[in-house]
C-alpha cells in the first residue's frame, strides 16, 4: 500500500508537479487525517479489507466494536461529547445494514457522523453478490446525505464533502458507500486537495438582523416569556450566549431532553425539562406564557402534547438553522433562521432587562406546589434515589448516558445538569440499547471524565455485547442498571392504558454482575436501599468498567405524565384537582 510519487512512477506522462498517484484505500486514510480524525469506530469485513490494510499503518485510533450498531452509537456519542464528526467504517451488506439503527438515531438528533460502508465491486453491483445490499437505497431516508463512489478519482472529493455536509448547517449523518475496486484502484491526486462542489448546499449562519430585532422587541414587550431551548443550542455551542441573553433579559428557561445541560438547572431561572415527562412548572409556564422563544428545538410531539392546545396564549419566536423546522408543527410568528450562537449573541444587544415580578412569583408558586418528587420512605431502592445519589457524588459533573425508557426520564428529571455535552441520550428515535455503547464512545472522547450510563435492564440487554469493547480498551465506564425486571415504560403504559395487562413486557434477566465479571468487568449488585451510597462510591472509585445491578422498586412510575392527546397542562401524577389551570 502507500503512495507512488512522480519520481517513482515509470510512466509520468499525465503527471505534473503537485500531483501524485495513490490507491483508493490510501486516499481514504489521508482524507480522514486531513479532516482531523483521531478516533474512529467500526468492524472489518471482506470488501473493506484494503482499507483496513491501509489503516494498519495509520496513526488513527481505531476502536473495534462487537457489532456495527455499537460502533455507530459509539461514534455518535463521541460526536455529541466532542462536537467533532464521529467516524465509522464497516463492511458491505450486513455490516452496512447493522448501522441503520445508529444512523437513524443520529439523524433524528442531528448528530454529525460520517459512516463509510464497504460495497461489492462496481461490476457486481445489482447482481445480488455475496454481502451485497443497496446501502444508499436503504440509508437514504435516515441520513442527511449519502453517496456511492464509483470512480476513485471522485473519492477524495466525496469524502471531504461528506465531512462538510455532516458538520455544517443542521448536522447529521452522511454515508459514503465505497466499492472494493474503488479502494484498490489508483487515482491522480492533487496535493492541494480537491474542491468541494455542492451547488445545492448553502447554509445560512447569520440570522436576518430585522428578524433578530423583532424577536428581541417581542421579548422586551412580553410580560410572561419562556425560552424553550433544545439540542440545537448544544450543537451550536451556544450555551454561553443563551446564558447571557437569559441573564440580561430575565426570562425563565425550559429545555428539551436533548437540550439538558445547555442551561444550568441549578439556576433559579431554570424550569428544567418540559414535555410529556417534564416538570409541572415548566409545562404550566409554557401553557401560561405570552411569548415562547424556541431556540434549536423542533416542537416534537413529546414536547407539545396536544399541539392544538400548546402554548395557547403565546406568540412564538423560533430560532433554528433548519428552515424546514419552522412552522412545521406549530405556527411561528417570528422565525429567525440561522446559527443559534450567532443569533443569540446578536440578540443579546437588543434585549432589555425587565423585572417580571408577577411572572416569576407565579413560577415560584408552581415550583413550590409541584416539585419533582417521589416517595423514598419505602424499603426498596427507588430508581430516582440512585440517580440523585450518583448526581450528589459526582457533583452533577459526570457525563451521563442513558438507554431509553423510564430510567431515561428519571435521569432527565433527577440528575441536575449544568454543563452542555454532558447528557448523551437518544431523544428523537428513542433507541433502546443506545446508552452503553454511547458511554464507551463518550469515555473514549473524554478519558479523564467520569462517564455514567444509567440504563434499564431491557435497554442494557440489547447492547451488553459491547462489554468486551469497554474492557479491551480499559475504559472505566460506570453502568448503573436500574433493574425492575420489566420494560418499565411499556409496563407503565400497559398499567395506565391497557388495564394492567402486562403483555410481553417482563423478562427473565441474567445476573448482570456475573455477566460483567465473565466479560472481565467489575460486577456489583445492590438489593437494599442502605447499600446504595456505598456501592456508588465503590463504583466511582473503580478503574475498570463497572456494572452495578440495582434491584429497584419494580412498579415505580414516571410522574408527571402528559398522556398522548392531552394538553401540556393536563398532567397525570400531580396532586388531585390541580391540573385544570389553563
Amino acid at each position: 500500500m502507500g503512495t507512488t510519487t512522480d519520481s517513482a512512477s515509470p510512466n509520468s506522462k499525465n503527471q505534473s508537479p503537485g500531483f501524485s498517484k495513490k490507491l483508493g484505500a490510501q486516499i481514504f486514510c489521508d482524507v480522514l487525517q486531513e479532516e482531523g480524525v483521531e478516533t474512529m469506530f467500526g468492524y472489518p469485513g471482506g470488501v473493506v479489507l484494503p482499507v483496513f490494510d491501509a489503516l494498519f499503518d495509520s496513526p488513527i485510533n481505531f476502536v473495534l466494536s462487537r457489532h456495527e450498531q455499537g460502533a455507530t452509537h459509539m461514534a455518535d456519542a463521541y460526536a455529541r461529547v466532542t462536537g467533532k464528526v464521529g467516524v465509522v467504517l464497516v463492511t458491505s451488506g450486513p455490516g452496512a445494514c447493522n448501522t441503520v439503527t445508529g444512523l437513524a438515531t443520529a439523524n433524528m438528533d442531528s448528530i454529525p457522523l460520517v459512516v463509510i460502508t464497504g460495497q461489492v465491486k462496481t461490476p457486481l453491483i445489482g447482481n445480488d453478490a455475496f454481502q451485497e445490499a443497496d446501502t444508499t437505497g436503504i440509508t437514504r431516508p435516515i441520513t442527511k446525505h449519502n453517496s456511492i463512489v464509483k470512480d476513485v478519482n471522485n473519492l477524495a472529493r466525496t469524502l471531504h464533502e461528506a465531512f462538510h455536509i455532516a458538520r455544517t448547517g443542521r448536522p447529521g449523518p452522511v454515508v459514503v458507500d465505497l466499492p472494493l475496486d474503488v479502494s484498490t484502484s489508483q487515482a491522480q491526486v492533487s496535493n492541494s486537495g480537491p474542491e468541494i462542489d455542492l451547488p445545492g448546499y448553502r447554509v445560512r449562519y447569520e440570522g436576518h438582523i430585522r428578524q433578530i430585532k423583532r424577536a428581541a422587541e417581542a421579548i422586551n414587550a412580553s410580560e410572561k416569556p419562556v425560552i424553550y431551548a433544545g439540542g440545537g443550542v448544544i450543537l451550536a455551542n451556544a450555551s454561553e450566549q443563551l446564558r447571557q441573553l437569559v441573564q440580561k433579559a430575565n426570562v425563565p428557561v425550559t429545555t428539551t431532553l436533548l437540550g439538558l445541560g445547555c442551561f444550568d438547572e441549578n439556576d433559579p431561572k431554570s424550569l428544567q425539562m418540559l414535555g410529556m415527562h417534564g416538570t409541572a412548572y415548566a409545562n404550566f409556564a409554557v401553557q401560561e406564557c405570552d411569548l415562547l422563544v424556541a431556540v434549536g428545538a423542533r416542537f416534537d410531539d413529546r414536547i407539545t402534547g396536544d399541539v392544538k392546545r400548546f402554548a395557547p396564549h403565546a406568540r412564538v419566536v423560533h430560532i433554528d438553522i433548519d428552515p424546514a423546522s419552522i412552522s412545521k408543527n406549530v405556527k411561528v410568528d417570528i422565525p429567525v433562521v440561522g446559527d443559534a450562537k450567532s443569533i443569540l449573541s446578536e440578540m443579546v444587544k437588543y434585549v432589555e432587562p425587565r423585572e417580571r415580578k408577577e411572572w416569576f412569583a407565579r413560577i415560584d408558586q408552581t415550583k413550590k406546589l409541584y416539585p419533582l418528587t417521589y416517595n423514598n420512605d419505602t424499603g426498596a431502592i427507588k430508581p430516582q434515589y440512585v440517580i440523585e445519589e450518583v448526581c450528589r457524588q459526582t457533583h452533577g459533573k459526570a457525563i451521563v448516558c442513558t438507554g431509553v425508557g423510564q430510567h431515561q426520564m428519571w435521569t432527565a428529571q433527577f440528575y441536575r445538569f449544568s454543563l452542555p455535552r454532558h447528557f448523551i441520550s437518544s431523544g428523537g428515535l428513542g433507541t433502546m440499547g443506545f446508552g452503553f455503547p454511547a458511554a464507551i464512545g463518550a469515555q473514549i472522547a473524554r478519558p479523564d471524565a467520569t462517564v455514567v450510563d444509567f440504563d434499564g435492564d431491557s435497554s442494557f440487554s440489547m447492547t451488553l455485547n459491547e462489554l468486551p469493547t469497554a474492557v479491551e480498551n480499559g475504559l472505566p465506564v460506570k453502568v448503573c442498571i436500574l433493574n425492575n425486571g420489566y420494560m418499565g415504560m411499556v409496563r407503565q403504559w400497559q398499567e395506565m392504558f391497557y388495564g394492567k395487562r402486562y403483555s410481553k413486557s417482563f423478562l427473565k434477566n441474567p445476573d448482570f454482575a456475573r455477566v460483567a465479571e465473565a466479560f472481565g468487568a467489575v460486577g456489583l449488585t445492590a438489593t437494599r436501599k442502605d447499600q446504595v451510597p456505598k456501592i456508588i462510591e465503590q463504583m466511582l472509585a473503580e478503574k475498570k468498567c463497572c456494572v452495578v445491578d440495582f434491584h429497584v422498586e419494580r412498579e415505580e412510575n414516571v410522574w408527571p405524565m402528559v398522556a398522548t392527546g392531552k394538553g401540556l397542562h393536563e398532567m397525570a401524577g400531580l396532586p388531585a384537582g390541580t391540573s385544570e389551570r389553563v
Binding site: 437514504r140 431516508p141 456511492i148 451547488p199 445545492g200 448546499y201 433548519d322 424546514a324
Partner: protein, 178 residues
C-alpha cells in the same frame, strides 16, 4: 388544491429516488412528476404537481430544499404559467366515424400520429383541462390506451420569456389559454 413546484437538480444517480422517497416518507401527495434535461448538461429539471394546502406546500418546498443535489426550488403558486402535458391516446373508431373524430382533433389542435382500421392514435398537448376535455370527448368512442408525460410548466414572466410577438399563444382566443 393542486400546485406546481419545479426543482433544478444536479444530474446524479438517485436524485429522483430522493425526491420520490421524501414525498412518500413525509406523507405528501404527488399528482404528477416530469423529469428532463435542461439547457445546462449538469442540471435536470423536475416539475411536480402537488396536492395540498399552503402549510403543506411550504413544507414540500423546504424539504426539497434540504435534499443536497437539489440546486434550486421554484414554487409556481400564483404565477402566470404556461403549463403543458403531452398525451398519446388510442381511440377506437370505425372508418365511418373518422370525420367526427377528425373534427374534435382539429378543434383541439391535436395531431393524428398513427391510424389503423379500427383506431387512431392522437398526440395532444396542452394544459391539464384541455387534455381532460379531450379525453372526455373521446370516451364515447372508446379509449383503448393512453399515456401522459405529467405536467411541465414555465412562468410567463421569467427572464427567459420571449418577446410577445414571438409567443403565438398570446394572440387571439385559443382553447388552451389558461
Amino acid at each position: 388544491m393542486k400546485r406546481t413546484i419545479s426543482a433544478l437538480v444536479q444530474n446524479q444517480p438517485g436524485v429522483l429516488a430522493r425526491v420520490a422517497g421524501m414525498f412518500a416518507a413525509r406523507n405528501f401527495n404527488i399528482d404528477s412528476l416530469a423529469v428532463g434535461r435542461t439547457e445546462n448538461p449538469n442540471l435536470s429539471r423536475i416539475t411536480m404537481v402537488v396536492i395540498g394546502d399552503d402549510a403543506t406546500l411550504e413544507q414540500v418546498r423546504k424539504q426539497l430544499g434540504k435534499i443536497i443535489p437539489i440546486v434550486k426550488v421554484y414554487d409556481f403558486t400564483g404565477e402566470d404559467l404556461v403549463q403543458r402535458d403531452l398525451m398519446l391516446i388510442k381511440i377506437a373508431v370505425a372508418s365511418e366515424k373518422r370525420p367526427e373524430i377528425q373534427a374534435i382533433i382539429d378543434m383541439f389542435r391535436a395531431k393524428v400520429v398513427d391510424i389503423g382500421p379500427k383506431f387512431v392514435m392522437v398526440e395532444v398537448t396542452g394544459p391539464e383541462q384541455k387534455i381532460e376535455a379531450f379525453i372526455d370527448l373521446c370516451r364515447p368512442y372508446g379509449v383503448k390506451d393512453m399515456v401522459r408525460t405529467g405536467m411541465i410548466a414555465m412562468p410567463r414572466h421569467s427572464k427567459a420569456r420571449p418577446d410577445k410577438g414571438l409567443e403565438p399563444e398570446r394572440q387571439g382566443p385559443e382553447p388552451d389559454r389558461e
